[in-house]
């Protein structure tokens, strides 16, 4: 069976869901004729037509607002943010309107907001952001951050079928760099379930998206030194699968959280707090974090490499933690 890239998996998920359910529509900037800035929606207009694949003005608030309205009318819209950095333009309508709709008014908003996030491709400070925590901190939204083609496809399908607003962060570094064989036919991956990617006993590394791959690379290197890390892929940040994290910490007694998001207010802080509250007595060492710096994403390749975590930085922190 041929391998599927992360980007192809996302395209396949949209294609199959639009084929399955005429209520699924796509809107965003350059998603139609051009097929999206990263070609995620290539071929969808030709197959599904102008009514279902809608090129919009450069108006993120209007794109999200219209998607909310379509969801109210019981469609299942997918709205693309050309780069996830631009989601900041629609922050108000996402956090004040979509997120509160079900709790306040009993009005569900089935809607997926998806777009490319993350650095490592020298996109500069406005095309490399990781703004997931703004939305994790907003009750009413679900936040999904897949790391593999299989998860990207299965989670996007789950997101489209969900009755809530789901923010789907696609790591652009992974678009064409990771590929794997994925199951044929219709399958979904449940939102809110983490997965143990590598079994180990000496410490737990929790990560997601592109940093999962850096963590796995570090774990492979550490194994040669006789250190056996367990690697947990969060896959979903909200709702957070605390049970899988706690089960792993109870086994290894040490925790390292790795993310590309900046340090202060990143998910690592929340995970550390949960572990303190519920598994403090299980810990044999302080919880550690490897994250990006608390700065905007710098442009120069040397600076960006210094800014972001990588396998070497993860391995160094894990080594120290293992020795503690």
């Amino acid at each position: 069976m041929p391998e599927t890239t992360y980007l192809e998996a996302i395209r396949e998920a949209m294609y199959e869901e639009m084929d399955r359910d005429p209520a699924v529509v796509l809107l965003g900037e350059d998603v139609g004729v051009y097929g999206g800035a990263f070609k995620a929606s290539e071929g969808l207009l030709a197959r599904f037509g102008w009514e279902r694949v809608i090129d919009t003005p450069i108006s993120e608030s209007a794109i999200v607002g219209a998607a909310i309205g379509m969801g109210y009318a019981a469609l299942r819209p997918i709205a693309e943010m050309q780069f996830i950095d631009f989601i900041a333009c629609a922050f108000e309508i996402i956090t004040n309107y979509a997120a509160k709709s079900h709790y306040l008014w009993g009005a569900p908003v089935p809607m997926v907001l998806r777009g490319p996030c993350g650095g490592g491709v020298h996109g500069g400070p406005f095309h490399s952001g990781n703004p997931e925590m703004h939305f994790v901190h907003t009750p009413g939204l679900k936040v999904v951050c897949p790391a593999t083609p299989r998860d990207a496809k299965g989670l996007l399908k789950s997101a489209i079928r969900d009755n809530n607003p789901v923010l789907f962060f696609e790591h652009k570094f992974l678009y064409r760099r990771v590929k794997e064989e994925i199951p044929a036919g219709d399958f979904t991956v449940p939102i809110g379930k983490a997965e143990v990617r590598r079994e180990g006993k000496d410490l737990t590394i929790v990560s997601y998206a592109a940093m999962l791959h850096a963590s796995l690379e570090a774990a492979a290197d550490l194994a040669k030194e006789g250190i056996a890390p367990e690697v947990v892929d969060l896959r979903t940040l909200m709702p957070l699968d605390t049970e899988t994290i706690l089960n792993s910490v109870r086994k290894t007694n040490k925790l390292l959280v790795v993310h590309e998001d900046t340090r202060t207010g990143g998910i690592a802080g929340e995970i550390a707090a949960v572990v303190m509250e519920r598994a403090f007595d299980e810990l044999d060492a302080p919880v550690r974090r490897v994250t990006s710096l608390d700065t905007p994403v710098p442009y120069a390749p040397e600076l960006e490499e210094f800014f972001r975590p990588n396998a070497a930085k993860v391995a160094a922190a894990a080594r120290e933690l293992a020795r503690y």
């Binding site: 030709a46 109210y72 469609l75 309107y97 008014w105």
Partner: protein
């Protein structure tokens, strides 16, 4: 042009406008008794706009009211008890005590979308419903309201521009009540008429006397017909004056007394009552019957609200997400096959009628030199089209 209103419709309009006014007067009393908390916003003097515009819609159409559009909710079938329990934060309220004022929704039955206190969001939301309605073959119109102040927001522009580009069946009512909290309209926009904003989006606009309910109904019906027929959104500017402060706490001393006096003489209910009498559409007995009915309704619903319990504490912690409590099922009014392959499939390339996507041409050259006689206009035009392709 929409057809004339019948006697029954005139009386119905009076009922809703009077109910709107009396309900708000009752809520002001409850506010002073500390039974309504937070902010209480008055639509005194603006009832003809809320009632008249909503009255122009059909049962399948959608509305999203703003805070001064209690009248639109009443027309849509919302009962005084729903408004009262909502303001009094009771468990029997449409939001079970979770939200206040007109912030309530009923998507499935009455097609009502809730507003938030952030102005402008409803424009793209209602544009989205309008597009979904067209996609589903429903032939609906969507409507929302915004003030002179709200028209200064970024999402107003984004939403209306998007609706215009998509020719969404959408009607926007700009209630120009001349004051946004304490800021006069002159400091909101350098425009005399907010209807002029429509020109920027290439859509139709109308200006109506917002204190003349018959004119409001007629204008809104025409606009709804225009939008429903696929000719794009309509912006209606309804001119009026906010007769009270921003909310109950605000004495609005910044509004000139003379202006208030002038607009008091244009009170929409006084004017409409005079019209009903002049046209002999009612008599004192009919008026008393309607007024008594309203008083009884409000009395019963205040009692209901006052006897309603507050929400139980544990109810605060649930319901953030839909976990299967709602079904999401579109109301298809056209064959689904039309939007599925192979019928949905198209050639994915832009098609333009002219050389430039929107027909734009460079401005005509100034006539500085006389044209040479040998130049042939048709040949030049043909060359331009060819170059553009």
């Amino acid at each position: 042009m929409a057809s004339a209103l019948t006697r029954e419709q005139h009386l119905e309009l009076y009922y809703y406008m009077r109910l709107n006014r009396e309900l708000e007067a009752q809520m002001a009393r409850l506010f002073r008794q500390n039974k309504i908390l937070g902010g209480l916003y008055s639509s005194l003097g603006q009832e003809a706009i809320s009632v008249g515009t909503a009255y122009a819609l059909g049962p399948g159409d959608w509305i999203a009211p703003m805070i001064r559009n209690i009248g639109a909710l009443l027309v849509r079938g919302v009962k005084p008890r729903e408004v009262l329990t909502q303001h009094m934060a009771r468990y029997t309220s449409p939001t079970r005590g979770r939200d206040t004022t007109s912030h309530m929704a009923d998507l499935k039955r009455r097609h009502i979308v809730a507003p938030t206190s952030v102005l402008g969001d409803l424009i793209p939301v209602m544009a989205g419903i309008a597009l979904a309605g067209r996609y589903l073959g429903q032939k609906i119109v969507t409507m929302t309201w915004i003030g002179d102040g709200g028209s200064s927001t970024g999402v107003f522009h984004e939403g209306l521009n998007f609706a215009a580009v998509q020719k969404a069946p959408f009607v926007l009512i700009v209630e120009n009540n001349q004051w946004a909290y304490s800021t006069p309209v002159e400091k909101q926009a350098a425009l005399t008429n907010f209807a002029d904003r429509a020109k920027a989006y290439g859509i139709r606009s109308e200006i109506v006397d917002g204190n003349d309910v018959v004119a409001v109904v007629r204008t809104a019906r025409d606009a709804a017909e225009h939008a429903r027929s696929g000719r794009g959104p309509v912006l209606i500017e309804a001119k009026t004056l906010r007769m009270q402060g921003h909310a109950q706490h605000d004495a609005a001393e910044y509004v000139p007394r003379a202006t208030l006096e002038e607009w008091k003489r244009r009170d929409p209910l006084d004017r409409f009552e005079k019209l009903l009498t002049e046209k002999k559409l009612w008599d004192a007995k009919t008026k008393k019957e309607i007024d008594d009915r309203i008083a009884n309704e409000i009395r019963a619903d205040v009692e209901f609200a006052e006897n309603s319990p507050p929400p139980p504490l544990e109810s605060a912690a649930v319901g953030v997400y839909c976990e299967g409590c709602h079904t999401v099922e579109a109301d298809w009014q056209r064959p689904k096959e039309e939007v599925m392959p192979p019928r949905s499939s198209v050639k994915a390339e832009w098609r333009f009628p002219a050389a430039s996507p929107n027909g734009a041409k460079p401005p005509a050259a100034k006539r500085e030199t006389p044209k040479a006689k040998s130049e042939k206009k048709p040949a030049r035009a043909a060359a331009r089209v060819k170059a553009g392709r």
